[in-house]
Subunit: 417 residues, 2 copies
């Protein structure tokens, strides 16, 4: 689906690869002086100079002279092109226009009903949103370098469609990438929401500090559904069938709660946002929580912010519900920490709105139940990006692909000289 | 610890790297014709010829002319050198002398008591065993390319010592690699047993077929302890603190069995070899199993073969114990399959002796409790190597390091011309 033009019989692999390498180093570490690039690549100074000129001339790089310096530094020409990141959630569709540094320039979004609306209808709305953003930014037809689409389901990444989505009728094997490729001339990439959220944390969020460069970590999204994006040595790990990280359907031993997937005792059926809201409503109805009874009495729904406010006001039921969800999620993550031994776990999703008490309960369960060695230096922290993570991550997915070693050479031939 | 000589300021990186690349391709895919190597490397024919001559002249490669062909094929000169693989277990020390294809030439071993004997004493015995093998093979002092040491504990791989071993008094941070480096002039590498067992399955066992080349898989050792070796894209994944794969201490929710690690409900405390033997003895004492009562009555210990024989003879208790252990292990693995989505799980360790019923129970639990997508193509199979896996794997660990791109060039300078 996501090929970069048709020049498969590339006769200038070395040129492409070298340009790609240099571009990637500048993308990852820039702005950089030419000397720094020589050091990092081990290439001859003359070779680096030659490629820098070419990348500058096609507009992929730009230079700047820092104050007090005489030498120029190179950086990605962030406005040389744009990418669109689309994030489809259970109840909302968000679309962002990003520059080549994955910074969000403009965004738009609206509600969706993933269970009731057809894929065609939702995708058409995504296309409309993207067109709206293009128009507002006054972009020409070749300004888009690519479009990334994230959705809450396992995805066959190579084919660009969802596979076995648990509660998205009509989406199984629906050709999302092909559909969008008909609408746009740029390459289209489709992936799972937690994978792209992990990419966003890697480049722009909680895992973007030098300490975690090229590290392995987990991004856990705790929302209506629960899932994990797994990054190994800086790259997304998808597993044999693209199903890696599907931790929401890990079973809690002995729990018999029926899950939407048909199994019993799945983590998300017990501690996901939907389960939590249902438990809160039950607590209100039974009179156990005066705070929640009052909220419901006023005709308001109970969401994560409500629970957080209840806990802050000292409502014991709210505190208990928050701590229980945290400890149930932490208990499953303790098992995964023993297996995967990551240095970092980033928590995102709507349950983060439950507040510090929720995060503390997750940490407590992990530290209590994992081996001391596996948790010796483990950091569990909140996403720095939250809602922006998914659209930004979908944009980064595109940038990673479009600016891969191999593809930068092609872009150099495509861009105006 | 495991440096290859002292030439760190290597002035011939490209030579080394090219030689290393060619050697690795021959090691992984050989025997090969020169043409195949040209195709696989993309190097010029003249370059490949030049390096092949050099690798032949230093004795790292040899050629052979297949019947009916006129052209020579290149392969690793398996007798150009040797490596020693040492596997230390809870109750046994095994040492193998292997050729450069990791085939075992000769081996020797004996009982140990990891809890009562000091590290010095056990390592001295390992040295004696290795010397005995060198002598029997008539090897000179420079014939050994390296020594690999595997032990049943988390290992700090860079430093070459065990870290936080659960039940090995005196071994925590004991400098195993330094100790052995004083005895041998060759490089020494120390790793966890399940990691090297996974390497052995990758190169010589259940994961060595083309279908799993460069694949990700798990090797699960189910013995007195339970642990997993994780291979990602053909390489060992160790985790942030070398603790990855420590699945024996994953907690079973609600189980309160005390584990040797101090925690409660750990998988190996519930379903490991020791727990199984204890349960069998209790069943014998209570009269529930006439078969086991008779075995114990004759003064014999109950081991895994005994349980397998009991099950084969129709003893219900034996059958129940085997199925319960399999389903408990499978239940934990189901969670890990949701997270890691491997195409292959290889089962090794003494519990494999429980027979097909045990493996079937593991499979049943995984298929029952993982998502359908994650298990769509999952294969769960018995190790092809079993006991040999650990010594062979320790040898492969050495070969991987010694024949890395970087090091082959150094070997070319060291070897006689």
């Amino acid at each position: 689906m996501h090929t970069m033009g048709s020049s498969d019989g590339d006769d200038s692999t070395n040129v492409s690869t070298t340009a790609g390498k240099i571009f990637k180093i500048i993308r990852d570490h820039g702005p950089l002086y030419a000397n720094d690039i020589v050091k990092r690549t081990g290439l001859a100074k003359s070779t680096v100079s030659e490629y820098l000129e070419r990348l500058l001339s096609v507009g992929l790089l730009r230079d700047e002279i820092p104050e007090g310096s005489k030498r120029r530094r190179l950086k990605v020409a962030e406005s040389a092109g744009y990418v669109v990141g689309v994030a489809l959630g259970q109840t909302r569709l968000n679309v962002a226009l990003c520059d080549l540094e994955a910074e969000i320039i403009d965004s738009v979004g609206g509600p969706v009903d993933l269970v009731r609306e057809t894929p065609d209808r939702i995708l058409a709305r995504a296309v409309d949103f993207a067109r709206e953003l293009e128009e507002r930014a006054g972009l020409g037809p070749s300004a888009l370098f690519g479009l990334g689409f994230s959705l809450p389901s396992p995805v066959d990444y190579a084919q660009g469609f969802p596979v076995n989505p648990p509660v998205m009728p009509g989406w199984d094997h629906f050709p999302v990438a092909s559909y969008l490729a008909q609408e746009f001339t740029c390459p289209v990439f489709v992936d799972n929401d937690v994978n792209v959220m992990a990419l966003a944390e890697r480049d722009k969020g909680a895992a973007s500090t030098p300490a975690y460069r090229k590290a392995s970590f987990m991004l856990v999204k705790a929302g209506s559904g629960i899932g994990a994006g797994i990054v190994i040595d800086g790259e997304i790990y998808r597993g044999a069938k693209g199903a890696a990280g599907d931790i929401g359907h890990i079973g809690i031993d002995g729990d018999e709660t029926l899950c939407r997937c048909g199994n019993r005792g799945c983590l998300e059926a017990v501690a996901g946002g939907r389960a939590l809201a249902a438990a809160a409503e039950a607590a209100a109805a039974s009179g156990r929580s005066p705070f929640l009874a009052e909220v419901l009495g006023r005709g308001n729904a109970v969401d994560m912010e409500t629970l957080a406010r209840g806990a802050a006001s000292g409502d014991e039921t709210c505190i208990q519900l928050i701590c229980l969800a945290g400890s149930q999620i932490g208990n499953v993550m303790a098992k995964l920490v023993n297996f995967f031994n990551p240095p970092l776990i980033v928590i995102s999703g709507s349950l983060v709105k439950l507040g510090e008490r929720f995060l503390a309960s997750i940490r407590e369960s992990i530290y209590h139940r994992s081996t001391p060695l596996a948790t010796a230096d483990l950091v569990v922290k909140k996403s720095a990006l939250l809602e922006r993570g998914a659209t930004m991550g979908a944009a980064i997915l595109v940038l990673d692909e479009v600016f891969s070693h191999r593809n930068v050479g092609k872009l150099m031939r495509r861009s105006p000289g």
